[in-house]
C-alpha cells in the first residue's frame, strides 16, 4: 500500500496488554478507512465466542466435497510410475506399449530423455524437479518418472506397468551420518541454488557444496567466545531428531481440467492463490485463465502449499488428453513422496552467570531434507531468550530420500527440542527452578503469564527432584516454551457483499484447511453488521474470489480477518447512509446491531437490516479490502510476507509416567497456555492446540520414518508401522488462552497452529528427565530408547 497522505490518517486508542493482567490502551495512527478500534472480547457479541464451525453440518453429514471426492464428466484417472531404485540414471524409457493400451489416453514423461514436456519449476521446495529436466536421474526410491492418464484407475495402473525403463544403478546413501563421511556417494554433483524458502526456513544462495554437505549458513551477534570465557556455568549437549511425516488423512490430490478457454484445478491445497500463480507461470497462462478451487481440505500441515510434481503432471496430462484428469496419491506414495519434517543433529552450548542471565549461546547443526534444502533448526536458540552473544552454523546434508518440506513450525520444532532441554539442564546446574530461570531470561510478558497460570494448573509446586521417586513406575513434570513469528501476508484481500434481500456474503480465495477460517470470517463480518454468523454465507477456497493468504506459517487469521472487518465496516457505513434519511438521523449516529440499523442517540429510531438493504439502488453491492500494514509497522518484511512486532508465545506443561521396566512412557496430562493476540473462537483454537499437542506427542514418543540402508526404500510407508497417536495415547489436555492485545490491526488477531506444537516434545523430554533422572537427547523417546538410556545410566 502506498504511503498515506497525512489528512487520511487519524489517531486512535486501541486495547493493549493482557486481559485481566495489564489491559490498557495504546495510541496508534491508522488510515481513515480503517474500522474503528475493536473493544476487548468481553465487550463483543460474537468475536471471542465459540461460534459453531461454519461447515460443521456438511462435514458431519458427509456432504462436503474434498478434492478426492470430485468427479467430473469424462474424467480420466492418472497413476504415476516411480523409480524402483534410490539412485539411478535412465538410459532409455519406452512408453510405446503404454500408449497402445486401449484404456490409456495420455502418457507424460516427467523424468527421462524425453522429459522436455516437463514445465520449469519455480518453487524452492521442488528444487529436485529442476534436475529432472536437466538430467534423467532418479534421486530417490519412489521419485516420479512418468504419469499415465486412462479411462479407469485400473487401466492407468496397467499403463504404468507397460512403461519400460532401462535403469543404470548408481551408488546411494540414505543415512545423514554416512552422507557426511568422506567418499560417500554424492547426491548432487553440482547444484544451482536460488535463494528462497526451503524445507524449514530461508535458504541463502552461494554457499559451498562439499560432497553432500552444503554450508555453513551462519548468524552471529556479539562475541560468543568472550561470552563463554566470562560464563560461570556452561551446559553443552548433542541432540538428534528424526524424520516426521505429515500423514495427512486426505492424500495429496488434484483434478485438473484443461480447456481451450482456461484451466480449472480442484486441489487439496493450503494456498489456492499461490497454486494459481504457479500454474500460470508453469503453463504460460494469464492469471485470469486459471482457477483453483478447494472446498474442504483433509489436512496439510505444511505439505500442501505448492503445486508439486504431481500437480504439474496432472495438468500436463489433462492438456494432452483434452479431458479432466484426477491424480490422487495412494497411502504408500503419500508416505514416500509428499514431504516430511527433516531430520537434524545439533550441538548446543549455553553459558550463563550465577544469577541465570545468559552470556553466550553457540549452535552447530546439520539437517537433512533428502534432496531438498533448508533443513535448519529455526531461530528459537537465537531469539527465545535474552542473550547478547550468539553464534550459529548450519549445514544441509543431501541423501537419496524424497524432498522434505515445511511441516508445522518448521525448524522451531527440532530447535526447541534442544534449546528447552538445555535451559532445563542449565537451571539444574544453577540450582534454580526451570520457571524461575525463564522468568529471569525471557522478556515476553505473555509467556510470563502463561508460565504462571500453567504452573498453577498442572500443580508445579508438587514437582519432585529429578529421579527422586523409588519404585519401577515413576512420575515426572516438565515444561517448555514456544516462540513463533506473528506472520502476516500483505497480499490478502476479502470482499463483503450485501444483496438486496439483506443477505450477506464474505468472499476470498483463502481456504479453510480445518482450522476454522470460514467460521472466523463469518463471526467478524456478522459482528460488524449486527447479524448472526449463520446469516453470512462464506464463499472461500476459490481463486475466482479476491486472493487471500496461504494457510501456513500461522498467518491466515492475522492476514484475512482485518480486511474482512474493514470491508464489512465500509458496507455497514453505506447501509447506514441509506437508512439515515428514512430514520431522520445522521448516518454517523447509526450502528448495526441485533439485525437492525439503530440510532445511538435515540434507539427508538431503528429499522431492520434487510429493510435498509431493500433500499439499495442495485441488486447488490460489495466492498473489497486488503490487508493494511500493522498499525505499529512490521518487525520484518520480505515481499508479501511480514512479521508483526510481537511474537507468538506458548508454554506447555507435561505430566508423564515412565515404567522403567518396560520403557513405556505415558503422557498423562498436558497444560497448554497460549497467546494469539485476540482469540477469535476459543473452541476452534482449543481444537487446534489439541492437534499441536498430539503431533508433538507423536514426534516425542512414537513417530519415525525409517529408510532401509541396504535398499534405500522407506520401510514403514504406511499407517501401521508408522505409528500415529490414537485416542488411547491422547492425554488430558487443558488449553489456557490469554487475550494479548497489541493494537496492531483491525482485529488484532494472530495464529496459533505452530506455537501449539513447538514446546510439546521438549516438555515431555523434561518431564521424562524429572521422572527417571536420565536425559534423552534423541527422538523418538520410545521404549527402546528409554531402556537404553536407563541402561547407560545417568548422563
Amino acid at each position: 500500500m502506498a504511503a498515506q497522505p497525512q489528512d487520511s490518517l487519524r489517531r486512535e486508542l486501541l486495547p493493549s496488554g493482557i486481559a485481566g493482567v495489564s489491559l490498557a490502551q495504546v495510541e496508534r495512527t491508522v488510515a481513515a478507512d480503517e474500522a474503528p478500534p475493536l473493544a476487548p472480547n468481553a465487550d463483543l457479541t460474537l468475536i471471542g465466542k465459540s461460534a459453531p464451525r461454519w461447515n460443521g453440518r456438511e462435514k458431519v453429514t458427509g456432504a462436503v466435497r474434498f478434492t478426492t471426492d470430485i468427479a467430473l464428466p469424462r474424467m480420466l484417472h492418472a497413476r504415476l510410475l516411480r523409480a524402483p531404485l534410490p539412485h539411478a540414471r535412465i538410459r532409455a524409457i519406452d512408453t510405446s506399449a503404454a500408449e497402445r493400451h486401449p484404456g490409456v489416453c495420455a502418457v507424460h514423461v516427467i523424468l527421462g530423455p524425453r522429459g522436455g514436456g516437463t514445465a520449469s519449476v519455480s518453487a524452492d521446495e521442488d528444487m529436485e524437479a529442476t534436475r529432472r529436466v536437466e538430467e534423467p536421474v532418479a534421486l530417490y526410491a519412489g521419485m516420479a518418472v512418468a504419469a499415465v492418464a486412462a479411462v479407469s484407475p485400473e487401466a492407468a495402473e496397467q499403463g504404468v506397468r507397460l512403461i519400460k525403463v532401462d535403469w543404470q544403478p548408481l551408488p546411494f546413501v540414505v543415512d545423514m551420518d554416512d552422507a557426511r563421511a568422506a567418499g560417500a556417494p554424492v547426491v548432487f554433483e553440482k547444484l544451482h541454488v536460488q535463494a528462497g524458502f526451503g524445507a524449514s526456513g530461508l535458504v541463502t544462495a552461494g554457499l559451498p557444496l562439499n560432497g553432500n554437505v552444503r554450508g555453513p549458513a551462519t548468524d552471529a551477534r556479539g562475541d560468543a567466545a568472550a561470552g563463554f570465557a566470562a560464563a560461570d556455568v556452561v551446559v553443552e549437549g548433542e541432540y538428534r531428531t528424526q524424520v516426521q511425516s505429515h500423514c495427512c488423512m486426505e492424500p495429496h490430490g488434484i483434478v485438473a481440467d484443461w480447456r481451450a478457454d482456461g484451466l480449472t484445478v480442484y486441489m487439496s491445497t493450503q494456498y489456492t492463490a499461490g497454486v494459481r500463480e504457479e500454474l500460470a507461470r508453469s503453463f504460460g497462462l494469464p492469471l485470469n485463465r486459471v482457477r483453483v478451487i478447494v472446498d474442504a481440505m483433509g489436512g496439510g500441515f505444511g505439505s500442501k502449499s505448492t503445486l508439486g510434481y504431481y500437480g504439474l503432471a496432472a495438468v500436463a496430462l489433462s492438456r494432452q488428453a483434452g479431458a479432466p484428469v484426477r491424480l490422487v496419491l495412494d497411502r504408500h506414495e503419500e508416505q514416500v513422496d509428499s514431504g516430511y519434517r527433516p531430520a537434524t543433529w545439533q550441538r548446543l552450548r549455553i553459558g550463563a552467570r550465577r544469577d541465570g542471565s545468559l552470556n553466550a549461546i553457540s549452535l552447530l547443526s546439520y539437517g537433512s531434507a533428502g534432496t531438498a534444502l533448508g533443513a535448519g533448526v529455526g531461530n528459537v536458540a537465537s531469539r527465545l531468550y535474552t542473550c547478547a552473544n550468539y553464534e550459529e552454523a548450519h549445514y544441509d546434508v543431501f541423501i537419496n530420500a524424497g524432498p522434505g518440506c515445511a511441516m508445522r513450525a518448521p525448524g522451531a520444532v527440532p530447535g526447541a527440542f534442544a534449546l528447552e532441554q538445555a535451559i532445563d539442564e542449565l537451571a539444574e546446574k544453577l540450582g534454580m527452578d526451570p520457571i524461575a530461570l525463564r522468568d529471569r531470561i525471557d522478556a515476553s510478558p505473555a509467556r510470563r503469564e502463561e508460565r504462571r497460570i500453567g504452573a498453577e494448573r498442572i500443580g508445579w509446586n508438587l514437582r519432585h527432584a529429578a529421579g527422586a521417586e523409588t519404585g519401577p513406575i515413576k512420575t515426572g513434570l516438565g515444561m517448555a516454551q514456544s516462540l513463533w513469528g506473528a506472520n502476516v501476508q500483505i497480499n490478502s484481500a476479502c470482499e463483503v457483499r450485501v444483496l438486496r434481500d439483506g443477505s450477506v456474503e464474505v468472499r476470498s480465495s483463502v481456504q479453510d484447511i480445518g482450522t476454522g477460517t470460514g467460521t472466523v470470517l463469518a463471526q467478524v463480518v456478522a459482528e460488524e453488521l449486527g447479524l448472526r454468523p449463520e446469516d453470512v454465507a462464506v464463499r472461500i477456497g476459490d481463486t475466482d474470489f479476491p486472493a487471500g493468504p496461504g494457510s501456513g506459517g500461522s498467518r491466515a487469521t492475522a492476514s484475512i480477518t482485518p480486511p474482512a472487518r474493514n470491508a464489512a465496516y465500509q458496507v455497514c457505513r453505506q447501509l447506514c447512509a441509506l437508512a439515515a434519511p428514512i430514520l431522520g438521523v445522521e448516518a454517523d449516529d447509526l450502528e448495526a446491531r441485533g439485525g437492525r440499523i439503530v440510532s445511538r442517540s435515540d434507539p427508538a429510531r431503528a429499522m431492520a437490516f434487510r429493510d435498509a438493504a431493500a433500499k439499495m439502488r442495485t441488486e447488490q453491492f460489495a466492498v473489497l479490502a486488503s490487508r493494511a500494514d500493522d498499525y505499529a509497522g512490521f518487525r520484518a518484511r520480505m515481499g508479501d510476507a511480514a512479521a508483526a512486532r510481537n511474537d507468538l508465545g506458548g508454554v506447555h506443561f507435561a505430566a508423564v509416567t515412565v515404567d522403567t521396566e518396560s520403557g513405556l512412557v505415558r503422557l498423562e496430562r498436558v497444560v497448554a497456555a497460549h497467546d494469539c493476540g485476540r482469540p477469535m473462537n476459543p473452541a476452534q483454537i482449543e481444537s487446534q492446540v489439541h492437534g499441536g499437542v498430539l503431533q508433538g506427542l507423536g514426534y516425542a514418543l512414537l513417530e519415525e520414518r525409517v529408510l532401509d540402508r541396504q535398499t534405500g526404500h522407506v520401510v514403514n510407508a504406511d499407517l501401521e508401522r508408522y505409528k500415529l497417536p490414537g485416542a488411547h495415547e491422547a492425554p488430558q489436555i487443558d488449553v489456557l488462552l490469554i487475550e494479548n492485545y497489541q493494537g496492531f490491526s483491525a482485529t488484532d488477531a494472530y495464529g496459533v497452529a505452530e506455537p501449539a506444537t513447538i514446546p510439546t516434545a521438549p516438555a515431555i523430554a523434561n518431564a521424562i528427565y524429572n521422572a527417571i533422572g536420565v536425559r534423552l537427547r534423541a527422538l523418538p523417546m520410545n521404549r527402546a530408547a528409554i531402556l537404553a538410556a536407563l541402561a547407560a545410566g545417568r548422563t
Binding site: G56, G62, F66, R331, G514, Q684, A727
Partner: protein, 211 residues
C-alpha cells in the same frame, strides 16, 4: 497372525475373498482395529455358496441407507469403491485403503466395518449405513449434533467414520464411559487431533439421548 484363518479353498488355492479376510485379520492384529475385526467377523459369517462370479462386472444388489441399489461391479471392487463411485456416496473416505485408518468406516447391520477391506460382492443383503444415511429427515443424529456443538472435527476427513463408530457405540452401550469411547474410536486415525473433543461429544450425545 493372532487368529487362524483358512485361506485355502477346497482345491488348495487361495481365493481372493479368503485372502482379503486374512489380510484384514493381520492388519487388525497389528493395529488393534476394532472396525477391521468387525469386518472380518462379518465376512466370516457370510457363507455364500460356490457361485462363480467375474472377472467381468456382475450385477449385485446392495441395501444402502434404506434404499435398494443394483449395480454392475467387478468382483475385485471394494465396498468403499462402490459407495464412492457408482453410488456417489463420497462421505465415505479412503485414507489408507488397507484397514489401518478407519476413515472408510460404514455400518453393516449396525456394526462398524472398514469398507476398504470388504468386497462389495461379499456384503450380500446386509443393510449398509453410510454417513449420508445417519440423519433422518434432515434431523441430525445426536452424535452428529454433538460433534458440531463440541467442535469434534477439524479438517473433517476422518469425521464420517468417527461419527458412524460413535453412533454404533451408543446403540451397543447407551451410557459409555470415557474408556469405552476411547476403545471404540481407537482404530480411527486423525491427524488434526480431534480425539479429546470426540470423547466430550459422545458423552454429551449419550446424555442427550437419555433426554
Amino acid at each position: 497372525m493372532r487368529r487362524s484363518v483358512n485361506m485355502e479353498d477346497s482345491r488348495g488355492r487361495i481365493s481372493r475373498r479368503s485372502f482379503l479376510r486374512g489380510t484384514g485379520a493381520a492388519a487388525a492384529g497389528a493395529a488393534a482395529l476394532e472396525t477391521a475385526l468387525a469386518s472380518v467377523a462379518e465376512a466370516a459369517a457370510d457363507v455364500a455358496g460356490p457361485r462363480v462370479v467375474g472377472p467381468d462386472a456382475a450385477p449385485i444388489t446392495l441395501r444402502v441407507n434404506g434404499a435398494t441399489r443394483t449395480i454392475m461391479v467387478e468382483p475385485r471392487t471394494t465396498l468403499a469403491e462402490v459407495l464412492r463411485g457408482p453410488l456417489d456416496l463420497t462421505g465415505t473416505k479412503i485414507g489408507c485403503d488397507r484397514g489401518a485408518c478407519s476413515a472408510c468406516t460404514v455400518l453393516l447391520e449396525g456394526a462398524p466395518v472398514a469398507s476398504c477391506s470388504i468386497l462389495a460382492i461379499d456384503v450380500g443383503d446386509r443393510a449398509i449405513t453410510t454417513i449420508e444415511g445417519l440423519a433422518r429427515d434432515g434431523v441430525l443424529h445426536p452424535v452428529q449434533a454433538a460433534f458440531i456443538a463440541h467442535d469434534a472435527l477439524q479438517c473433517g476427513f476422518c469425521t464420517p467414520g468417527l461419527v458412524l463408530s460413535c453412533a454404533a457405540l451408543l446403540e451397543r452401550i447407551p451410557n459409555p464411559t470415557e474408556a469405552e469411547i476411547k476403545a471404540a474410536i481407537s482404530g480411527h486415525l486423525c491427524r488434526c487431533g480431534v480425539y479429546p473433543h470426540v470423547v466430550e461429544a459422545v458423552l454429551a450425545a449419550a446424555q442427550a439421548r437419555r433426554g
